[in-house]
């Protein structure tokens, strides 16, 4: 749970590599289930990179999911949020529920104030319009008004969770862009950041070529000639 911090270079690479590229590199390494399908960007223009801080909800029970309980400081939702370290992403197993919110602008603002890198919810958030103004990346299934105890009870944090059908271990690396969120197993972050940055460069070149009328065969994947041209292009670009 306290692994060596990621190298700055790795983080910088992850900040500019597309999630499409990262899932492709993970696929090549044998990982077919790394995309948190259903977690859509509240603010598609923002990118997100950070380490997972996890939070787990279970179905509500009428005697436990009451405001007196859920407002205590040691309630797992509150404890997790207040524990948040700079650069972390709060990742919430909200059970895919679309009829209640896991939180709203108050909790998202608190996470931002603590230096969090973002928040990913397998469920919904309230105050959708307000969250869009926060300049803080949030990914969720959508908006819902009701308070979470109408459906959920928080029971754990900092444990492995499932989020949108994907395993998220505390410390895993979450990367988000307009396409959605990928969870990179921590020990693979350096590798996919590096190979992903290379692939992203290549795809930028390929896209230019295709737009200019090149056929897909020979261009992508590049044949020897295209590869050579790419090397020239890359050097020019710096």
């Amino acid at each position: 749970m306290n692994p060596a911090p990621l190298a700055t270079e790795t983080l910088e690479r992850l900040r500019r590599v597309a999630t499409a590229t990262l899932t492709t590199q993970l696929f090549k390494l044998g990982f077919r289930n790394t995309f948190l399908s259903g977690a859509k960007p509240v603010s598609p223009e923002l990118r997100m990179v950070g380490e997972a801080l996890t939070l787990r909800f279970v179905p509500a029970r009428e005697d436990l999911a009451v405001f007196d309980n859920i407002t205590k400081p040691d309630y797992p939702q509150r404890a997790a949020i207040e524990s948040c370290q700079p650069g972390q992403v709060l990742v919430v197993d909200g059970r895919g529920v679309e009829s209640a919110a896991i939180g709203g602008d108050i909790y998202m603002s608190r996470l931002k104030a603590l230096g969090a890198a973002g928040c990913v919810v397998d469920g919904c958030v309230r105050d959708f319009a307000s969250i869009r103004t926060l300049d803080f990346p949030v990914y969720a299934r959508g908006a819902a008004s009701p308070p979470h105890p109408a459906r959920h009870l928080a029971v754990d944090w900092n444990v492995p969770i499932g989020c949108c059908g994907v395993l998220v271990m505390p410390g895993d690396i979450l990367v988000g862009d307009a396409d959605g969120v990928v969870c990179i197993p921590r020990h693979l972050a350096e590798e996919v950041a590096r190979t992903g940055a290379d692939l992203d460069d290549l795809e930028a070149f390929v896209l230019e070529r295709i737009k200019a009328g090149a056929a897909v065969p020979g261009t992508y994947p590049p044949n020897e000639k295209t590869r050579a041209e790419y090397e020239v292009w890359r050097k020019k670009r710096g």
Copy 2:
């Protein structure tokens, strides 16, 4: 079906209280199922407050769901729309169907011309782009092109219906914002409008504090000190 009209003050309060706050107040009163999950705003920048006028559809049958029938003035869909009073919201049990439209810009424009406060559909609408220009709040599951008799037959109006999994009685109060739509049982409207307005004020103060760096514990819910500061803030604000 002809209850006393809501007080002007209640309506004014409901026009500025968030649906997130209203569902919270209803939850505290024991109501866990008041949010019409799935009905998303066509025009998220508009707010909606009004009394429910209900309309019920059932599955189409090939011999009944034909244009000759559905264009008669006493067809329930048409009768309901023409009966609409100023301040009402047409609430439609469209069975959650996403492959046909319950109506489009013509019906929405007619509702607007009659002074309706909005329209909520557990189903889809056509002419999505045009409806966005109407300055009339519509909530639906999304857009669909096909005419409703491809899937539906209207059979009743002004009866209790289920809409997006929530009971809507004629005369209930529907409130919508960017997060979605809440149905307030009519006899509770005055109470939740009043307590909701108070909570909304408090949350505005809390949000300011959290953005300024306050921790959640002590701030929300407010401890005695925060509560006192809030009272000062509120008086200043007027």
Copy 3:
């Protein structure tokens, strides 16, 4: 598979008739299942009209859905794309899957360069933000990052497929607007283009009337008097 090309007049009409009108005309002809429910516009401001070029995916198998195979020129996805003729719409049976992308900005740019009229996917696309800048109509269930072999294998093209629950035959006419996509059986295209254009004109007139305060009964469908006024309106309009 090589039917007579559509008349220019038919294509022009289809470019301005709403999909809501087209599905209505098809419904009147007995076709209740022509709307590709779930395929939403990536760029809602664009319209699309073209002939279907189909592509079929099946579930991936770990030994076949590998990059070595899917990058060969005769891989059905690549063969279909490179075969695309001006005016065609690539229609993809992506099995409704939301956890992988059928393609991204490279393939969409290639289709555009070839003169394709658009792309419809019963599944997801990557590079969502980039595709929005292409001025090329794409319809899909949403965005997803992972490469298609994580879920799919392409096995066939130019065969009848199901797409979003609708039969699409090669050569059928696909029309898309902000409401979504309709598939018109090819032999009916001329007829629904013609009758649809008439209905669209009438509905424009009706909408004006309704906005001006007319009641639905008598206006839509028009009674004799309204019909006469419409004829005057239409002549004025030219």
Copy 4:
């Protein structure tokens, strides 16, 4: 609502014709949506034929769906059951819910005592094992223990309803066997009973032939020779 009773001959035919045959005959008449998909036989060995008595539920609300209300004689569920006439089938719009029961052995026994022909529920029943012993045909999505007010409120009876995606009008004819339940529009009952009985006879003959090794082409549908042999077979059989 008080149409002429069905002829005894029609009822007798419906008691022996397969639902597969009846849906086929309805399909030939243009009806594609007559099968109550999801309503499975609790007792597959029983057959059911009767006239629809309908009952409609909506989502529960905590202040209305309470035992004090739902045990009143005029509560729609109770009123409908006590109103049941011999030969009727209680058809319940239970909203497809699988987490609560619409009723159990007490209500089913009451219906049987009143001479009801059966019960069809778009939802669940409790006391599954006990109902299986009643010699009374019940069709439902499955078993569930909780009382209906945990999810539902009855609001109407003797009105058109949707049940398992099919329109059921009061007085329509419900027929059930091991494959499930078909709803026959009342005015078509005589016709499909008659043509269905003929088709059922033919299919019995065809099945014998196919089991004896005949190929499908020529046998089903029968060519002239097979048709002639069938006529002989039918006369022998009486």
Copy 5:
């Protein structure tokens, strides 16, 4: 986690009270979500009563969900099973997945050998036919052949879990019959066992009456006269 054991009398009552009765009593106490919808009896003729021992799965990851890991003694699935005490029910959050099995006849036999009272799985089991012969109550969504690491990884046991949409705390009381499984919050077990036993007796009397032709009103709920007759009946019955 080590509460006082349940009284023998409570356990005996729970062994004969229907789950329909228990969910009714819980509903009256304000609990609307106690039924594990989707967990169907593999052996409907068996009843189950026991205390929850919980086990939690999350989505598989290709590098962790491998046989080398999942066969270690401290793998949570194995640790939970070997820890099982007589009278416990293993309750498994199998994420509702129907394409892999959580276990089969070997694990169920081990649980039985340890004196477990049963097993409830929000997911599937393999060796369905063999499990039916074990005289051991198992509830699951159905049968599936694949080993669990194809979809799952066990990460925790003896923690609160969601199972079929219901909160299950370690030590809660699970009761199962042919209708399905109810989870009784432990502190309510004595109360609902007692009141449930009374209600079950009454309903047995009511069912007799209804079968004999009594109307529902006056019989259920019983009016004064029926209540008196019931008291006589109950005394006779002993």
Copy 6:
């Protein structure tokens, strides 16, 4: 499409190895998606082993899915059935639809008469009760009465298809038992039959031990001592 026939020994092994064992062996070879989830045995007491003959349906269109067309000998459904060779399993992409039948006792009887090994349908069948009497293994999602053209049109056979989310290539090996159906890529059939038979033997021994009170650790997977005892057991057993 005309690979070497499977060895008799392979077929014999597959006839006695559990599908749970086969999916386990395939998982060890890297195949995580081989189980046709949702295809349940109509006759759970039968086993099935055979080579895939595939058939593909797409959504119906009102002008094409008519009896005149679907009864022609070259209609793909009929052509596929009549082409069936001894030992083949007809595998049908029925699109998961539960509101229409792909076929009934006539088609299943014809397949049996032709020596087919069974039939697997990603969809429903009619004549459920009759099919149960045929001594012919059929796997489907359940029963439904309506004829297939109410929902489907057959367009292809002997092509790769998806069935219940799994790729099935013509010639792949389908094995079914009470747990369901696994599709074995043809080139792996010999290997998994052989290793599966060994594992099945071991598991039979392990089950005996566990039932006799052995703990799971040490027994399964077997440690050296258990492995030695197993070898003795196996030799005794012959």
